[in-house]
């Protein structure tokens, strides 16, 4: 079995069509991308015991007792920890195991990711069946989170090597899959839960088992579909530019040296600022549009608090529609901006993200005050394309700056910026909003300062992006080091 998974078994034969690799990457990313849609489970899980209504725990029940009790239901805030664990373990596993991923290749990594991700579902199913929330945190959050990290970085290096002429587009296709995973997974979970629900069960553990099996098969198919190009392969008819542009290196920087360069940390900040701003908006999209426009969304007058319960239900549905539109913008931006970066260059692409993003975030409060729902929706759709584009363009940016040899591992380390942003963005947005409301600012205007702060984050990102210069050649690997690294990858003694 180990031989079947080894890197040398995945080297493509002459004549192999490189367009077979992106679907393999998509199979993995579409499977792990369901992590974004896990909130679909929160409400049914919060009444797993009560079935129709949540059974609250006694006020005097301690934290550890609540972890193991089968007598009362879980709170949504407790379940939400799974989401936090996902992104913490995604970033940390990608950072820690990145060099291993480069060494063993995409197939073994994909298989390990499939085992982690699907076993996370199965352990969580057991946790739901036994009503032990720590099993959900451990299963989906920790073990599944490691599967997320490994699965996310598994195709990056391979795709960049197959598509040296279209690095942005290639990684954009895979990373678009991560954005699209929730679009498939969330409605699928909804269908399955309704199918398995009975008068004595909310049907979630059965859904977890089914999805675990589906994702295991899909990810294994993806892992076995991976092929790596032979060393020094290039597409027929394509020749690298005789004169390299100053921002695309011809050398390679080892992962152990890359993170000691200022370029790595500037790019870390670029990703962190872009994601913090975008993730902050995603978290508040639905309540924000409802609170800012209130009854105007229904053609009525009055603020959100003045509406009838029926109108509030209608507004919630519009809020969910807005969040859905932002998801579509997010995945369109992933493939669109990443492909566009192949033509205008990575530095200019991020320059657009930060400069245009700054203008749009700064305009958002005015759009709210003018009452133009269309303008407001368009502003945020464009912002979300740039959020997705930031994720999808960063691997190509890293390959331009550090070379392709260790780009997967370097990308893995850079994903710690995502984990940081996953905490920073929502905390910043929520605290600023609460602070504003506590000081008596009307809820419709409580987002104004938030938008200006997020625009400020983009200015920091803009400055960091402008600071990214080509890496000092002393950090690049020598010809001997590169040969030794490739021999090690090929399973030979260096």
């Amino acid at each position: 079995m180990a031989g079947l998974l080894s890197r040398e078994r995945t080297v493509a034969r002459p004549g192999y069509n490189r367009w077979l690799v992106p679907p393999a990457a998509l199979a993995i990313h579409l499977s792990i991308g369901v992590a974004y849609g896990f909130s679909v489970f929160w409400l049914p899980l919060s009444r797993a015991i009560g079935i129709t209504e949540p059974v609250p725990c006694h006020a005097d029940m301690g934290f550890f007792e609540q972890l193991i009790t089968g007598a009362c239901d879980w709170k949504i805030s407790e379940l939400g920890w799974m989401y936090t664990l996902f992104f913490v373990f995604l970033g940390s596993s990608a950072a820690v195991f990145g060099p291993w991923v480069e060494r063993v290749g995409p197939r073994k990594t994909g298989v390990v990711a499939a085992v982690c991700w699907s076993s996370g579902f199965l352990i969580s199913a057991l946790g739901i069946h036994l009503h032990q929330i720590w099993l959900l945190w451990l299963g989906s959050g920790v073990i599944g989170g490691c599967g997320l990290g490994l699965g996310y970085i598994s195709p990056v290096s391979t795709l960049i090597k197959w598509f040296p002429d279209r690095r942005g587009m290639a990684t954009g296709m895979a990373i678009m899959g991560f954005g699209g995973g929730a679009m498939i997974g969330a409605p699928l979970a909804d269908i399955l839960m309704r199918h398995f629900a009975t008068p004595t069960s909310v049907g979630v553990w059965q859904t977890f088992v089914t999805m675990g099996v589906i994702y295991f098969i899909t990810m294994m198919a993806g892992a076995f579909g991976y092929r790596v190009p032979p060393p020094d392969w290039k597409p027929a008819g394509w020749t690298p530019r005789a004169k390299q542009t100053s921002m695309i290196t011809a050398g390679n920087v080892h992962v152990s040296r890359a993170w000691r360069t200022p370029q790595f940390w500037f790019l870390w900040m670029v990703l962190c600022m872009n994601v913090s701003a975008g993730i902050g908006v995603i978290g508040i999209a639905s309540p924000m549009i409802q609170e800012i426009f209130g009854g105007r969304l229904l053609g009525a007058t009055g603020t959100l608090q003045q509406l009838t319960p029926e109108q509030k239900v209608q507004l919630a549905s519009i809020g969910a529609g807005f969040a859905a539109l932002l998801s579509l913008s997010n995945i369109a931006g992933r493939i669109g901006w990443a492909s566009f970066s192949d033509y205008i260059g990575r530095t200019r692409t991020y320059l657009v993200f930060f400069a245009l993003g700054f203008v749009l975030y700064a305009m958002a409060p005015s759009a709210g005050q003018t009452g133009s729902v269309t303008l407001f929706v368009v502003l945020f759709c464009v912002i979300l394309t740039m959020y997705g584009g930031g994720f999808a363009t960063i691997p190509a940016y890293l390959a331009d700056i550090f070379g392709t040899q260790y780009v997967g591992a370097i990308h893995g380390r850079l994903l710690t910026a995502w984990s940081t942003a996953g905490v920073l963005g929502p905390v910043l947005v929520n605290y600023i909003r609460e602070y504003q409301i506590d000081r008596g600012v009307p809820t419709a205007q409580a987002y104004n300062v938030t938008m200006y702060v997020l625009a400020g984050l983009l200015i920091i990102g803009l400055i960091c992006n402008l600071m990214v210069k080509p890496v000092d050649p002393r950090y690049c690997m020598t010809a001997e080091e590169l040969a030794a690294a490739r021999a090690l990858q090929a399973g030979q003694r260096a």
């Binding site: 004549g15 192999y16 367009w19 998509l26 199979a27 579409l30 899959g177 579909g225 859905a324």
Partner: protein, 45 residues
């Protein structure tokens, strides 16, 4: 060393394979996008 040089029958069959490989990922993705579009359509009613 250029190896993306499949020609004639081999090239044709490899493109058939490409279509077959893309279908299982494209169809669910399109279904997911359609579900999301339906949800987003509420905004425009």
């Amino acid at each position: 060393m250029a190896t993306n040089d499949a020609s004639g029958k081999d090239a044709d069959s490899s493109w058939v394979l490409v279509v077959l490989a893309w279908l299982p990922v494209t169809l669910p993705l399109l279904w997911g996008i359609w579900q999301t579009v339906k949800k987003a359509a509420v905004l425009f009613r």
